[in-house]
Structures are given as structure tokens and as C-alpha cells.
Symmetry: C2
Subunit: 335 residues, 2 copies
């Protein structure tokens, strides 16, 4: 049994830089025709020059020419119209981080006051540059995304022509916003379709499942599954695959992020098959994103076979989700 | 500045066995006149013979004769009256674990149905043996203790003469039960007076703060602080200090437990001083427990000095809470 996907896309990906980039990027290129590349390097990507150089480093770290890094800038509230007009030639979106909420986000925005961000957001709106948001407050860890919903609403109301993507949503409250605001969209990760907080801290503590936003309750996971599996047009797949070396995960202060790049497509196929929704996978991993971002990806076919795949224990220094476990599907041509 | 405590007691302590016992037990003997010793070894302590032998191993692991291990049995629903009558000579309490809720608890009770436990609990009630309970259901990790409250209520109502200690409580709901049922008491750990879930998973993931029950919300912590600091007579200090080797904490599946034994008394003093409640520390760390358990501990004075103490990075293979940090108080005579 095989399944062929047309131009699958990962709409939220961390490939980092230098050696880590070389370790991980090819693991996305065998599954995807393109990926939205997160800009939270150290320092973050805030200039066109840095962006072009980073794109070049990504391309030269892979021998494949059928994978397009879809570049993003790190949001700053002092980007002006002229800068953004020029930047638009090279970027797919701009990513906004509240300061300090996740890995390498200290240079993010310290106030979510709409008026302080209005100049940049209006220019983005006019130039049709999507805004991607890590939507968490600095509140209690289980409430951060829920508390951010009112900020999403302020953004959606104040900038009705701005496409706003709520990145890696984890709660039923965020899903509910999708129906209420035409200009709100969302990415959903693989791991948030699979785990709850119980998987992270309910038994033994599992650092490789520790991520931001943290996985929530079963009723949240069920809402994410509902919209992902039903080809609901406002949600896209975005892995948020975030590689950290093993010694930064298994230590006294573990970094946030689940590394899923090498196995996302296989596990998504397994998941959609389990719920008898394989026919909706194409929408979730590509078609919805093409419509939301209004773009045509590289033409690429990726074929999955129903053939066992044993997940390696690590890729270089990075431990993937499902390390050492057996998956039911493989990507054709990938050992 | 010094503070002298009379016979401080740790009413919930894990000292494990063999090499680990030798590593950790003396760290409790310099702070305490006695400690309630948890019975969840592998296999658990369920016979008088095993209990006596374990007590002997504890005593011979320390050169001090001013520390009394207060022994407990691991609750089994088939303990009969005659056995318990004999056991009472050697034990201070019996500890009940729901099966699977924490470290080495698989042999615990699989049903909390009062009728199934009635025989043993009635015998304990008649013999005046306190029941200590790890009160968590197998539900969602943040709800487990809250869900257990109705079981505590069933126990309290059905066995009005049984002293029931809710061990290591972490929620405002458990605190509220204390006022409602005369025969309910509680221990509170140091770490649950200091941390919330945010400290464990809100920034970097902190495996050395991972414990069961997991730390909860700030409003829960405030309720625990309120009763601990006010000399509320139904709560006692119990560290739940739980040593695991570093490689079982900083790994892909980290064991639950915070190791606080070497620093609990110093940090408690610092905490009570911070809230200007030093006069209530004696009640929290000894007097309340003596009244609740109706016993006289060994006569021992422990003096704390307001003198810096740098917490070692590890004791043997075990990393303590506050490793490498500076505390404001020291125990006199302990370097």
C-alpha cells in the first residue's frame, strides 16, 4: 500500500545554523517540498542581508534542489514600510515572539499593545505579508496560550486584512477563535496531536517531549485532532521540529523543543490512517497552506509506503520523537 | 544570630537502601531527632521481619544515636487484626499507596473502595495506628490530588477514629479538608512551599524539581504557606526528600523526587524568617507532629546560625535542591 502526497509543506520549522543545520536540514528535504523557516537564530534574522545569507546556508547544506526554504523575518516594531516593501521580495512571513517566551526569543516584543505595533502591522497588512505569532503570555504555564487569545482577538479586529497565523496552537480556545475571525489561521504540530501534559510529566519526566507551548489536556488535543483530521481549511501542518543536542535535553535545565523532522510525515500518515481520514492528509500537509499563503510550492511528489520504519535512536547528537520505536509507514527511498 | 529547635522531625522521608541509604541517611540525622521512614522499597516493607531488618540497616548506616527512624509498613488490604496488633510495637504508621502513582508503588492498592479496605482500616482505627496516604488518582496530572479529595472524605467519614495523614499535600482543596474533618491531618514538603509548576516546566525544564505530586499553581502554594507559617496545628513538616542518582534525573525518563534532606532545615528557617514567622517554626517542624502522632521524640537540640551555607553540587551521586546556591542559614557543627 502506498500514498503519494503532492508538495507536502512544513509550515513551521527550526533548522538552526552551522553544524546543527547540516545535521537536520536534509531530514526535512526528503519529506517536504518546502518549509517556513523560523528566524530565531542568535542574533535573530532582522535584516535582508542576514536573511539572504541564512537562506544560502540552508540551500548549501542540502544537495537537494526540490526543497524551498520559505524565509521569515523576526518581528521588530520598528520595521517601516520601505524596509518591508523590499523585504517582501525575499520572505513568506514575519514571525512575532513575545520577549522571553521560548528559545532565542529575548529580542522579541516586550509589549503586546496594539498601538505600539500598529505601524509595522499596518504596513504588513498593506503589503500582504502574513504575521506568524508565538501566542503565549508570561503567565502560568498552563494558561499562557489561553490568556493570549484576547491579544489574538485585538490583532484580528484591528488589522482585518492582515493574515495572522496562530503558530503551534495547543488549546481548544485557540481552535474556537478560527471560526470567529476570518483573518486568523493556525499551524498544528504533530506532537500536539499526539500527547498531553500527562505524557510529559504524568509518569516519568520526558524531556524529549518538553516543548513550548507545553502540551495541554486531552480535551484540547481532541479539538486539535478534530480540525486537523477534517481538512478544516484554516489549519496547516507545521512541525515546530526543534533540534537540541541530547546534552541540552537530558540535563539539569532542559531546552524546549521536540525533534520530529525525520518522522513527521510517516507518523501523520499513520495517524490519519488510524482515524480513517487518509483522504484529508493532502489538505492538512499542503493544500490548506497553499491557499492561506496564496503561493505555489515546488512541484514534488513524496510517496509513503506501508512498510515498517525503525526510528534511529539519534541523528547526530539529536534524539528524535519515537527514538528506537517502530513506525508503520516509511518514505519511499529513505532508509 | 542563632535559633535552637527542640527535636525537629521529618514526618515523611525516603532513605532507600544499600549504598543510597549510606549516602543519604546521615544528612537527615544532623537535622532531625527522628523521621517517618517510607516503606516503598523493592519489594515494599510488608512484614515485621523486613521492617526490623530495615530499621537495623538504617541505624547501622549512621554513627549517630540521637536519630530515631520511625518505621512504617506498606499498606496491604489483607493485614488482619492480630498481625497489626503485633506490628504496632514496631511501627508509627502505615502508608497507603494507590498502585502505580509514584516510585515503587506498583504493589499498592488498586481500588480505593472503602468496603474493600474496611477490615484493615477498622483494625488500624481500633489499634490507633495512623494511616498515611499518597492521595492521587490516576487522572490528569494536575487534577490527581483534587480528584482524590472525595476519597479522603470517604475515609474520614467511615473511620472517624482513624488518624489519616494526607501526605505531601499540594492543593488548596486538600488544605480546605483539614478544617472540615477532625481526623484529617497533612504533611507539607519544603519544595511545595517554594515552587509551582512554572518552576518545573515554565522556563527550562528542571528535572531536579520534578516530583509527585507535581507542584501546582501559585494559589495552591499560597494556601500551603498560610497553614505552615501560622502554626496551624493539623499540618506537619515532611520533606518527602527522595534521592535518585543524577543519571536517573538527567536522562530520557526522569524519576520523580526532589532531594532536600541536607538543606531542608536551613531553607525552612530562611523561609519562616522571610515571612517574620520564626516563632512558628518549632510547631511546624516538631510540636504539631508530636501531638498528632501522640509521641515523644528523642530529646535533641538543633541550632541554626545565620551564617552562609553553600549547598554542595552533589552528595555522592545525588543532586540536592539549591545545588551550588548560597543559603542564609547553616546548621551549627555541619560544614
Amino acid at each position: 500500500m502506498t500514498l503519494t502526497l503532492n508538495s507536502p509543506l512544513d509550515m513551521h520549522l527550526h533548522v538552526r545554523d552551522n553544524d546543527m543545520l547540516k545535521t537536520v536540514v536534509h531530514l526535512s528535504t526528503y519529506s517536504f517540498a518546502g518549509a517556513i523557516i523560523m528566524p530565531n537564530l542568535v542574533p535573530p534574522i532582522t535584516t535582508i542581508k542576514a536573511l539572504k545569507a541564512y537562506k544560502q546556508r540552508i540551500l548549501s547544506s542540502t544537495c537537494k534542489d526540490d526543497f524551498e526554504p520559505l524565509m521569515t523575518l523576526f518581528f521588530k516594531s520598528d520595521y517601516d514600510y520601505e524596509f518591508l516593501k523590499e523585504a517582501k521580495k525575499y520572505i513568506s512571513a514575519i514571525k512575532l515572539y513575545p520577549s522571553g517566551v521560548t528559545t532565542n526569543s529575548l529580542d522579541g516584543v516586550s509589549s503586546m499593545d496594539v498601538e505600539k505595533l500598529r505601524g509595522t502591522l499596518e504596513a504588513m497588512s498593506e503589503l500582504e505579508i502574513p504575521l506568524l505569532v508565538h501566542g503565549e503570555t508570561s503567565g502560568f504555564v498552563m494558561d499562557r496560550e489561553k490568556e493570549f487569545c484576547s491579544i489574538y482577538e485585538q490583532f484580528a479586529i484591528n488589522f482585518p486584512n492582515l493574515k495572522i497565523v496562530m503558530e503551534h496552537i495547543t488549546t481548544a480556545q485557540s481552535v474556537a477563535l478560527l471560526d470567529r475571525y476570518e483573518n486568523l489561521y493556525a499551524t498544528i504540530t504533530l506532537h500536539h496531536l499526539l500527547i498531553t501534559l500527562d505524557d510529559v510529566i504524568g509518569g516519568m519526566l520526558k524531556p524529549h517531549l518538553f516543548c513550548k507551548p507545553i502540551a495541554k489536556r486531552v480535551e484540547d488535543k481532541e479539538e486539535l485532532l478534530r480540525v486537523a483530521l477534517s481538512a478544516y481549511p484554516k489549519v496547516m501542518f507545521g512541525s515546530d521540529s526543534a533540534p537540541h543536542p541530547k546534552d541540552k535535553k537530558e540535563c539539569c535545565g532542559c531546552a524546549a523543543g521536540v525533534f520530529t523532522a525525520p518522522i513527521v510525515l510517516q507518523v501523520l500518515t499513520q495517524l490519519f490512517e488510524k482515524y480513517d481520514k487518509l483522504e484529508n492528509l493532502q489538505a492538512f500537509v499542503s493544500d490548506n497552506a497553499q491557499k492561506i499563503y496564496n503561493f505555489k510550492p515546488l512541484n514534488k511528489k513524496v510517496t509513503l509506503e506501508k512498510k515498517e520504519f525503525i526510528v534511529p535512536n539519534s541523528y547526530g547528537s539529536v534524539v528524535p520523537m519515537f527514538a528506537g520505536e517502530k513506525l508503520l509507514w516509511s518514505i519511499k527511498g529513505v532508509l
